[in-house]
């Protein structure tokens, strides 16, 4: 017995979201490189925004994939996305300024292999499986890389494994007080996984609307940014971390209010609701 998963029609075409998501997250993640160029840390929060854009794209991909009925839960798609994405993200991170591009390529390879295996060996035989798992792996990689860049101000591997700690008044370089050495990457992994799998899982069903699902995805993304912004106080200076926290909180409040408004719009028997139109051809 499997639950029928219904998705709403209409909205922005998936391919358009794919291009916006890919280019948007790539540009935003490269904006964190301004930190290195200008020798400040104020641009760290762009990494989080890159993750939010990637999550929007990933949510639409999950919607696309799960409309075929995987037989297993929607969260599994989010798990495989981050599972293959984290390998791509960390492998990419070792290549310096090329990090985001290499991360995308490596994640795409791993995702495509997983997709081919799912279709040809496990015999899911779902037409969009290979494309979707490729996209999801890239989304996972961009989410991990973006949030990691937000936490430590750089997407380069050496920056992620080194930090400074103050012992007896002296600043000492250490590998423990870093994003990877402190296992913050594991927290980032789960924050990304929860954000990517929740929105469609929560919104699926009759009357699912793309704008509402995507608004929830953005809300989840900003919600994941808040803990990362708080974590970043440990790795970057106080003011840049405060900027990141403010951006996250403001973004979260805005998307949350918008999501509640959209939910009220679509809810049945809400006091201010307009009558719901029956979907053509039945729900």
């Amino acid at each position: 017995m499997s639950v029928k998963i219904e998705v709403g029609a209409g909205g922005i075409p998936h391919n358009q979201i794919l291009i916006y998501g890919l280019v948007g997250s790539l540009v935003l993640i490269y904006l964190t490189y301004l930190n290195t160029i200008t020798n400040t840390q104020y641009f760290a929060f762009f990494g989080g925004l890159a993750a939010v854009v990637a999550l929007l794209w990933g949510t639409d991909t999950i919607k696309h994939l799960c409309s075929y009925g995987l037989g297993t839960g929607v969260p599994s798609a989010g798990m495989i996305a981050l599972g293959s994405g984290v390998v791509g993200a960390l492998f990419g991170a070792t290549t310096g300024i090329l990090a985001p591009i290499v991360a995308i390529i490596v994640a795409a390879i791993i995702g495509a292999v997983a997709g081919v295996l799912a279709n040809n060996v496990v015999r899911m035989d779902i037409p969009v499986m290979i494309v979707s798992l490729t996209e999801l792996a890239i989304v996972g990689a961009m989410t991990v890389l973006g949030l990691a860049a937000m936490a430590c101000g750089t997407f380069e591997f050496l920056g992620m494994i080194t930090g400074t700690t103050v012992i007896l008044g002296f600043a000492v370089q250490t590998y423990e007080a870093s994003v990877i050495g402190g296992s913050i990457i594991a927290v980032i992994f789960m924050l990304g996984a929860i954000a990517i799998q929740h929105s469609f899982n929560a919104c699926l069903g009759p009357g699912e609307k793309q704008d509402r699902t995507l608004m929830l995805a953005a809300e989840c993304g900003f919600l994941s940014m808040i803990p990362v912004a708080i974590i970043s106080f440990a790795f970057i200076a106080f003011l840049p971390a405060l900027v990141a926290l403010l951006v996250s909180v403001i973004g979260w409040i805005y998307t949350y209010v918008q999501y509640i408004a959209l939910s009220k719009r679509d809810a049945y028997a809400w006091l201010d609701a307009k009558p719901i139109l029956e979907p053509k051809g039945g729900a």
Binding site: S2, S76, G83, I110, R123, I185
Partner: protein, 283 residues
């Protein structure tokens, strides 16, 4: 737009396609060759360990009694959540057990991982049955077999009409523990192999002692083990498509497909994890 197609609901088990099989073998061989080129014999041994770990995970998932949403309503036997969640829980518990025992040598660490995963599933299965029997007031009855292969208890007279069985029969409990143990063993094996690689390479690369880089090596090996664990678990979940009762379920016979897929997916993700440090400082 609702469910558009999905896996073909044909009887029997569809074998992997020829292309899928050939691709899996080619991918594994290419990955092994790359591992030899990059890290010599140590790399090959590590990659073989990772592939074995992945196969153990993919195989172990099939033992775990997954009920999904129907089980939550008492309409199907098993634990009331998805494959990915259960496998992640068992695997991560095993990984923690194994990682804790890592300094005590390979056999003890692997045993620690297996005991950790098995223990988590034993506790989960027991508490699930406590809730089913004393909370929901339903007896344990399998819908797939008439008699428990271990205890000899008969099921049909306890099975409610219109359900596929309910509760967690003893055979499913045993399956859960075996699955958790195999998953924990596999996850720990991946972790230990990667830890060996990183502990050999990082001190040279960063000009530091093994103790200094330990946090980075542990964190990297851990996050990659988690990522590969989830990839393999989700591929196995796609193979099961939804719910499975345990080793007595007819769906259990599908496991060879998941084993092939897990081996190839682990090889591809594993080669990137092994080659991670080769590019540091190149760009």
């Amino acid at each position: 737009m609702s469910a558009l197609g999905g896996p073909k609901q044909t009887g029997g088990i569809q074998p992997p396609t020829g292309m899928g099989l050939v691709l899996s073998i080619v991918l594994i061989i290419v990955a092994l060759a790359l591992a030899f080129l990059l890290v010599q014999m140590a790399g090959v041994i590590a990659l073989v360990g990772i592939i074995i770990g992945g196969v153990l995970i993919g195989f172990g998932v099939h033992f775990v009694p997954v009920g999904g949403a129907p089980a939550a309503m008492g309409q199907a036997p098993g634990i009331a959540t998805g494959v990915a969640m259960l496998a992640a829980g068992a695997g991560l518990a095993g990984l923690f057990g194994g990682a804790w025992a890592a300094p005590l040598g390979l056999p003890l660490a692997l045993a620690g991982g297996a005991v950790g995963g098995g223990l988590l599933m034993a506790i989960t299965c027991t508490m699930v049955n406590v809730i089913y029997v004393f909370g929901m007031g339903i007896p344990a009855a399998s819908g797939k077999v008439a008699k428990d292969p271990i205890t000899g208890d008969t099921f049909p007279e306890y099975k409610s009409q219109g359900t596929e069985g309910h509760g967690l029969p003893f055979i499913s409990w045993v399956g859960g523990v075996i699955g958790g143990a195999l998953g924990g063993l596999g996850g720990t094996l991946i972790y230990l192999e990667l830890l060996d690689i990183y502990q050999a390479q990082l001190p040279v690369l960063l000009n530091a002692t093994v103790e200094q880089i330990a946090p980075v090596a542990v964190s990297l090996a851990g996050i990659f083990a988690v990522g590969m664990f989830l990839m393999n678990a989700v591929l196995a979940a796609y193979n099961i498509t939804g719910t499975i009762e345990g080793p007595h379920d007819p769906k259990f016979k599908r496991f060879p497909r998941a084993v092939i897929a897990a081996a190839a997916a682990s090889a591809v993700a594993g080669i990137f994890a092994i080659a991670l440090l080769e590019l540091v400082g190149v760009f």
